[in-house]
């Protein structure tokens, strides 16, 4: 479904990712793991069209999407829920969700809204509240809900657990598992290794702009190298 081949991208002509390749198959949940600053967010930004692709190719459902604008990529059903949530603080929860279907899934807006309120009942209690006044966990739910409003084929979640309490992280991962169980492909980009490996079937470990390890989540969990790579021990 998503194919990244030899991706080189960065900021201001300086490459951060140096020839990265990865795949996500239909209905699959994969995890991309790595410490701060290894290029996880840069990878997401390149896939969703925010960053310029210097070389390599990104294909979605067989077609090259590198070079398309973010709205064009959204229109194809590749939805990126960004790090730091990037919700609209000056607008109500309902308006935030409605804008999720600005380009895609507009016809099913009412039905999808209901669906999102059943997944995230907390958002239903806050429909008319400004999104900026929500707690961190609620804002993350809103960001994911906004992404789901576009009826994604592939959902990229960039550090959904960032800044949340362990209890909330638990709750959030359970919700992500529930969304994924409905057949949606998810690319989970995380620092939270243990929980991500429980959720994903496969995982990539990113280090210094390249993939250091990859494999089945179950195998990686038991791999002593992971601890070493990840924690730099």
């Amino acid at each position: 479904m998503l194919e990244v081949r030899g991706l080189v991208t960065g900021y201001g002509g300086v490459p951060i990712l140096r020839g990265l390749s990865l795949d996500v198959a239909e209905g699959e949940v994969i995890a991309v793991l790595g410490a701060n600053g290894v290029g996880k967010t840069t990878l997401n930004r390149a896939i969703s069209g925010l960053n310029h692709v210097m070389s390599g190719v990104i294909r979605f459902e067989g077609e090259a999407i590198s070079g398309l604008s973010p709205p064009e990529i959204v229109a194809r059903g590749l939805i990126h829920v960004p790090e730091g949530r990037k919700i609209f603080p000056n607008m109500s929860v309902r308006e935030n969700l409605e804008l999720g279907s600005y380009r895609r899934g507009k016809g099913n807006r009412t039905r999808n809204l209901e669906r999102i309120f059943t997944i995230f009942p907390r958002l239903l209690e806050r429909t008319d509240q400004f999104a900026g006044t929500l707690s961190g966990g609620e804002q993350q739910m809103l960001a994911i809900g906004r992404g789901l409003m576009a009826e994604p084929k592939l959902l990229i979640l960039d550090e959904p657990s960032l800044g949340l309490s362990p209890l909330l992280v638990e709750e959030l991962f359970a919700l992500i598992a529930r969304i994924a169980s409905e057949g949606l492909a998810v690319m989970l980009v995380e620092q939270n290794v243990v929980q991500s490996l429980e959720l994903a079937s496969r995982a990539y470990v990113l280090e210094h702009g390249a993939i250091a390890m990859q494999g089945l989540a179950a195998d990686l969990k038991r791999d002593p190298e992971l601890e070493k790579t990840y924690l730099g021990l």
Binding site: S48, G49, L50, S69, P70, P71, V74, A75, I79, H80, V81, P82, R85, K86, I87, F88, P89, N90, M91, E95, E98, L99, G100, Y102, R103, R104, K106, R146, A150
Partner: protein, 290 residues
């Protein structure tokens, strides 16, 4: 002590002029709120719109109140094109460049008008230009009453657009969160251009409402926009409601200080308010904290 009638009529006049000020400030504040730039070409664009009304009337025989239906979409399109084809490509995404580009645009427009129309002052002659509506002892100029009502209708429609439509919601979304908007499938460049277009359309409407009672020369817009800047600061940068209330306040202040200090000193009150706002409430009446 002046008689109550005179005071009331000055008050009413101030409110009516203020409503048109508000309309001009509306475009300025909307562009600031969404694009985060001060559009220095706002005054020149207003002058251009006033000349367009003049041309419609003097050369084509179209009444200003009819011309509004032609000029509003025309100026929306012009504004859209200017943002999309001139300001955005020339600024390379740098806000300080945008300032210079709009400043350059204003110089080009103003001098283009000077070249085409000389520095003569022109006006249009409409049959209802001096007609009045009588309420008790108050005589209100009909074109000004129309302008007052129309300005509120436009502000209301703009409010509805921003709250009810997807495009309006996208405008508000882009104002606060560009990345989040792009990742929701909103074409940010398109929304910028739409916003700039709306600002230009507000000017076209204001020009149609002004021309039956005002004069135009190639610098006519500047006086209005100077006042509009004050309104935007008073109301709070980027606040639509603030622009409306601020416009009315400034209109009344100008009218009353004209009454008490003499006509030529009318604008002193405006700039006193401007300084006081900057000193004591720099975010304006309805402005968010910076």
């Amino acid at each position: 002590m002046l008689k109550l009638d005179i005071f009331l009529s000055a008050l009413a006049n101030g409110l009516m002029t203020g409503a048109v000020y508000a309309l001009i400030a509306l475009g300025l504040t909307l562009v600031y709120g969404v694009l985060h730039i001060i559009n220095f070409a706002h005054g020149a664009m207003l002058t251009a719109a006033m000349f367009a009304v003049f041309i419609c009337h003097a050369w084509l025989g179209i009444d200003p109140y009819l011309a509004v239906f032609i000029l509003t979409p025309l100026f929306f399109g012009l504004g859209y094109a200017i943002q999309r084809l001139v300001i955005s490509p020339a600024s390379h995404g740098d806000d300080s460049n945008i300032l210079l580009v709009t400043l350059g645009l204003s110089i080009i427009i103003e001098n283009g008008l000077l070249m085409g129309f000389r520095s003569d002052t022109r006006s249009i002659d409409v049959p209802y230009g001096f007609s009045v509506i009588e309420i008790g002892n108050l005589f209100l100029s009909t074109p000004k009453v129309i302008a007052f009502v129309a300005a509120f209708v436009v502000a209301g429609l703009l409010g509805l657009l921003l709250v009810r439509t997807d495009t309006g919601k996208a405008i508000r979304a882009v104002a606060k969160e560009r990345t989040g908007a792009a990742l929701s499938g909103i074409d940010v460049e398109h929304i910028y251009a739409v916003t700039f277009g709306i600002g230009a359309a507000c000017l076209a409407i204001a020009a149609c409402l002004l021309m039956p009672t005002f004069l135009v020369n190639p610098r006519a817009g500047n006086a209005f926009v100077l006042v509009a800047f004050t309104i935007v600061v008073l109301g709070g940068m980027g606040s639509i409601g603030g622009a409306l209330i601020g416009g009315l306040i400034i209109g009344v202040v100008e009218s009353l200080s004209g009454l008490y200090f003499g006509e030529s000193l009318g604008q002193i009150g405006i700039f006193l308010i401007f300084i006081l706002v900057l000193l004591f409430r720099p975010t304006g009446l309805f402005g968010a904290k910076a």
